[in-house]
Symmetry: C2
Subunit: 229 residues, 2 copies
């Protein structure tokens, strides 16, 4: 059962998290008319070591040619297929504040396998207003979106206070993958995936390292002025 003959089940999470970056690098090569890359080149363009890249790719199958490298188009297709991007995923964005606004207008989604099919907000005052060519809808249209559009992925861009409430509504309607921009922990039933993006958290991690650098240079040479600031 665990030993799959097609040797493909169970791609490590760490690998899955890097596949999008490989895909982007491959797209870049393709745009420049390059049809073949070595693991070394692709790794450099993705910001990883070549050994790691090769091990990652080995989990999806054997798509390289020894002595030559990888065919750009073919590898890109295989990664796309593995990530489930051969189809377009409908996405709904909830919360039309500053961030929701920016996300609705972000063009990067469309080019990478996603289609924003709806914008929602709990605030009645916003309903009907057009943002980036789409009307803002009330939350109770979620069921219809899941049924008619096959909506499965929701993006939460509300304040932290309403995030859990909105999340519950998404889950109740049948959405099973959620991208959360609100700075809070979401509780969801089994079978629902949540990923969190938190701007403050990222800055705080940077601050930690920044402080470490400052302390280190202060300890080694408190005299330094130009460089160690």
């Amino acid at each position: 059962m665990t030993a799959d003959p097609s040797a493909r089940r169970g791609i490590p999470d760490a690998t899955v998290a890097r596949l999008p970056e490989y895909l982007r690098a491959l797209t870049g090569f393709a745009e420049r008319g390059i049809t073949s890359v070595s693991s070394e080149e692709l790794a450099a363009a993705s910001g990883v070591r070549s050994a790691k890249l090769r091990k990652d790719l080995s989990h999806l199958g054997s798509y390289g040619v020894r002595g030559v490298g990888y065919e750009v188009d073919h590898l890109a297709y295989q990664i796309s297929r593995e990530l489930g991007l051969t189809q377009d995923w409908p996405v709904a964005i909830v919360g039309m504040g500053n961030l929701g606004h920016a996300l609705a207008a972000y063009s990067g989604f469309a080019t990478r396998g996603f289609r924003v099919v709806a914008l929602l907000d709990q605030d009645e005052a916003l309903h009907g207003q057009q943002i980036a060519g789409l009307p803002v809808r009330p939350m109770d249209t979620l069921d219809a979106l899941v049924a008619e559009e096959g909506l499965a992925i929701g993006v939460i861009a509300t304040p932290a206070g309403s995030a859990q409430d909105v999340c519950d509504q998404l889950v109740a309607a049948g959405v099973s993958s959620i991208l959360n921009f609100a700075p809070c922990v979401l509780v969801v039933p089994d079978g629902v995936d949540v990923r969190k993006v938190d701007l403050s958290t990222e800055l705080q991690i940077l601050a930690f390292h920044e402080q470490r650098k400052a302390l280190a240079s202060a300890a080694l040479g408190p005299v330094a002025k130009g460089v160690a600031k």
Copy 2:
């Protein structure tokens, strides 16, 4: 040299990445007037297991009381200090498109140890324009910001095409921590930290799991209709 007597050097990266979440949870407890929490409660509020939480906290020192728990204020202070948040970090945002706009208006920074001191853009047409109470400045004011404000952290919210260029200018001016929202790999010299936030990447990872769920339910019972869609 590596063996530090105060037993504090070398906090694992995985732990550092979770400290902001603990800090947020603690702030939540404090706001509700709770002065003491157990590792179990704090872990639940942070979305981790209590054993993990305790091991994480043990890396910063021994701030709990056996049989009782942790004093909320004290632990919050210790984590803040470890993350370097007892001071306010000046931050500059580069790229005043949709996303830069939203980030400039985001109030979450100020409450968590950061202060947006400048907005920059390469586009001359935007210079002088006011966004969220700050004027948009040209890139050549970076040196002054580093010298006068002590700027050390920069946020890149430009399109992918100009991100490396902007990054180089930040680094040249002396910025040594960068938060990158552009969907591309940045090359920086040693001593400069980069963290990347990529919306499409996150969605693609969700799509992978979503596809896996769809395939699994299709394989186990292609008959199911209501639930497995």
